[in-house]
């Protein structure tokens, strides 16, 4: 087994939120002890609903934000402090693709110039622009086009071409397809899969769309309120989710046929500033027992198949007396 290209250990990111003008400050743990590892040529899918901390996790692993606790290691070495020359150098090896290509591109610059920019910054041969355009399925003459002259799918291709300019080893894609139409989503998913295979990229694919995550990922991690609650092979997690939240998420996928036995979760996603004690999911969980209200479950391998899951019930330990498992 090769060492992972990216390894994040116990990442935690807190924000302070003021409640009203005179209210006290509340602490929001956007990301709360997330550990993940991605090898070269591997895609980790990160799924969860809005506010679960999946985007913040993406920003933390790139060093765009500093964790309050925990550490990121890239290619075996600790991540240098953001803004330092060492960090800037490393940033050439890790790139990000965002949800909204129009927001990620400069409207006043032709896309060719925008793809050339990272090449200039990192002193790479700028003659590579046509090659990059071809790699993402754009024509060489489209380099002269401005973002508004391209379709949504072409814009996202331009963003991906720019991200590939520095020949990165890691690509973090944050909801790269959710702003696109269905047929265009398929184009971009196919492109990401091809590029990943050709270039043996390590990829963190952040999405709320379980279909897309299954299509592209080798492993999937489900996040809920700042924590990974389940992690495993996408097919195994989708066909037999172990965590009650993953079960609800999988059963909520709209699909053909009238939904029989769909688990419709009660209530709304909880407020990260008002995190329930114990297992954060317990107020919405039909299986919750007394222990879930008091004791926070750790992400541990399940007996039998070794699936990583953070749930007392899934571990068959719901009835045991409260023993805090080492995280």
């Amino acid at each position: 087994m090769t060492a992972p290209l990216l390894a994040a250990e116990h990442l935690t990111r807190r924000y302070t939120l003021r409640r009203g003008v005179f209210g006290g400050a509340a602490e929001v743990r956007a990301v709360d002890g997330v550990s993940l590892a991605i090898r070269r040529g591997e895609t980790l899918g990160l799924v969860g609903e809005s506010g679960c901390g999946k985007s913040t996790t993406g920003r933390l692993v790139l060093g765009l934000e500093r964790p309050d606790a925990g550490a990121v290691r890239f290619d075996g070495a600790p991540m240098p402090a953001p803004g330092t020359p060492a960090w800037r150098k490393l940033r050439a090896r890790m790139q990000m693709v965002f949800q909204d290509p129009l927001g990620a591109l400069d409207r006043r610059l032709a896309i060719g110039a925008q793809i050339r920019e990272p090449l200039e910054i990192h002193q790479i041969d700028t003659a590579r622009v046509p090659e990059l355009l071809a790699a993402v399925g754009l024509r060489a003459d489209q380099a002269a086009r401005y973002p508004h002259e391209l379709s949504g799918g072409q814009r996202q291709r331009a963003v991906i071409a720019r991200a590939l300019a520095t020949e990165p080893d890691l690509l973090v894609c944050d909801e790269p397809i959710s702003a696109l139409d269905v047929s265009i989503q398929a184009q971009v998913m196919n492109l990401l899969a091809e590029l990943q295979e050709q270039r043996r990229l390590a990829m963190l694919f952040i999405s709320h769309d379980l279909r897309a995550v299954r299509q592209l990922s080798h492993r999937v991690a489900v996040m809920y309120l700042g924590r990974i609650v389940e992690e495993g092979d996408p097919d195994e997690v989708l066909s037999g989710p172990a965590h009650p939240y993953s079960r609800a998420l999988v059963s909520a996928i709209p699909r053909r046929g009238k939904p029989g036995g769909r688990i419709v979760l009660e209530g709304d996603p909880p407020n990260p500033a008002d995190r329930p004690p114990g297992c954060a999911f317990h107020p919405r969980c039909a299986q919750a027992v007394a222990r879930c209200r008091a004791d926070e479950p750790a992400l541990l391998p399940r007996r039998g198949d070794g699936r990583l899951v953070a749930c007392h019930v899934a571990h068959g330990e719901a009835e045991k007396p409260s023993v805090r498992a080492a995280a």
């Binding site: 609903e49 809005s50 379709s151 949504g152 799918g153 072409q154 139409d181 269905v182 047929s183 265009i184 989503q185 398929a186 184009q187 998913m189 196919n190 899969a193 709320h208 379980l210 279909r211 897309a212 299954r214 299509q215 097919d235 989708l238 066909s239 609800a248 998420l249 059963s251 909520a252 996928i253 709209p254 699909r255 053909r256 046929g257 009238k258 939904p259 769909r262 419709v264 979760l265 709304d268 996603p269």
Partner: protein
């Protein structure tokens, strides 16, 4: 056209054409909505699925050119006097949109906003309106409805705001609810709640539902019938099972092939090449021809007519009969 069996359709749209500044957004759309049925309207951004209903309800700017006919229970809506439209909108036909927060007035309590709809369409006021508003919030599953009547939209979550919008839509006891991407802005688990709610309400109230969506999965599980739109026209219409089992139009087949599976072997997605044509650069014949793997010379000669393929199933494609026969995916 396949008029629904039994009584006359609730809504009959014929040859509806809409253009903005001379540029066509709808290019002849015809379909019916039967009483109590759930019809899905599917297509990608800009295909005209929302414009169809905005035009039908007289919600487009005055300078928009609109032609054709929209009949609601036999009564013509296009060019109808404002008084008629005011009675219909929110009364017989209600519409909800993607972003509930921007549809609600942020400075008024939700109870007051629901009461306003009740006053307008049912002549209720005072305690009667408040009691009915509470009943509606109960119906749409807002917990502690009596107290929540006095809350402002920002005090509700996105899913709850959409429930409030549905409550307002129900205030006029509509025969038809048009839901325009009602769950697109919501999380998956909340989407499941709202779809469940819409289905339940439709069953209980016998109301027809038009669900406008880009998501085939959402339409597949919610609707009885589906119409697929492309570049301002309906390219295929079929009962939902039939559309998924024997899609005939290459565009429909492309859309289905573009959707990743949730089980079974992973396959390369059949992405449709290229993009939607711009309204000022419409192809001369079939609008889908430039992206179509089944294109033949006559496709460029003119807009393909609807071919009836089975009961309730039609497709506007010269090769629809062949396509519906061949089980393998259309090369796109």
């Amino acid at each position: 056209m396949n008029p629904p069996r039994g009584d006359s359709p609730l809504v009959a749209i014929r040859d509806l054409a809409v253009s903005f500044d001379g540029q066509a957004a709808l290019r002849g759309v015809s379909f019916d909505v039967a009483r109590g049925e759930a019809l899905g309207l599917v297509g990608e951004s800009g295909c005209g699925k929302s414009v169809t209903w905005l035009a039908a309800l007289g919600l487009l700017p005055a300078k928009t050119q609109i032609a054709g006919s929209v009949r609601l229970a036999g009564e013509e809506m296009l060019g109808a006097p404002p008084a008629t439209l005011d009675r219909v909108r929110g009364g017989r036909v209600a519409m909800i949109f993607q972003d509930p927060a921007s549809s609600l007035n942020p400075v008024h309590r939700v109870g007051r906003q629901i009461a306003e709809a009740l006053a307008l369409h049912r002549g209720l006021s005072g305690a009667a309106a408040r009691a009915e508003a509470k009943r509606l919030l109960d119906t749409v599953g807002i917990p502690d409805a009596a107290r929540r009547l006095d809350a402002y939209p920002h005090e509700f979550s996105g899913g709850q705001n959409q429930r409030v919008m549905i409550a307002m839509a129900l205030a006029g006891q509509p025969d038809l609810l048009v839901a325009d991407e009602p769950t697109t802005a919501l999380d998956v688990t909340i989407q499941a709640q709202i779809l469940e709610l819409l289905q339940g309400l439709r069953r209980e109230m016998g109301m027809a539902l038009v669900l406008i969506s880009h998501d085939l999965g959402v339409v597949a599980e919610t609707c009885d019938r589906v119409a697929v739109m492309y570049a301002g026209r309906i390219v295929e219409e079929a009962p939902v099972e039939r559309l998924f089992d024997a899609p005939a139009h290459p565009y429909t087949r492309g859309l289905l092939g573009a959707l990743p599976e949730i089980d079974g072997p992973r396959r390369r997605l059949s992405a449709i090449l290229g993009g939607v044509p711009e309204p000022w650069a419409m192809p001369p014949g079939c609008a889908f021809a430039p992206r179509c793997g089944w294109r033949i010379a006559p496709c460029d000669d003119g807009t393909p007519p609807d071919l009836a393929l089975a009961s309730g199933h039609r497709a506007a494609c010269l090769r629809a009969r062949e396509a519906a026969m061949s089980p393998e995916a259309v090369p796109a």
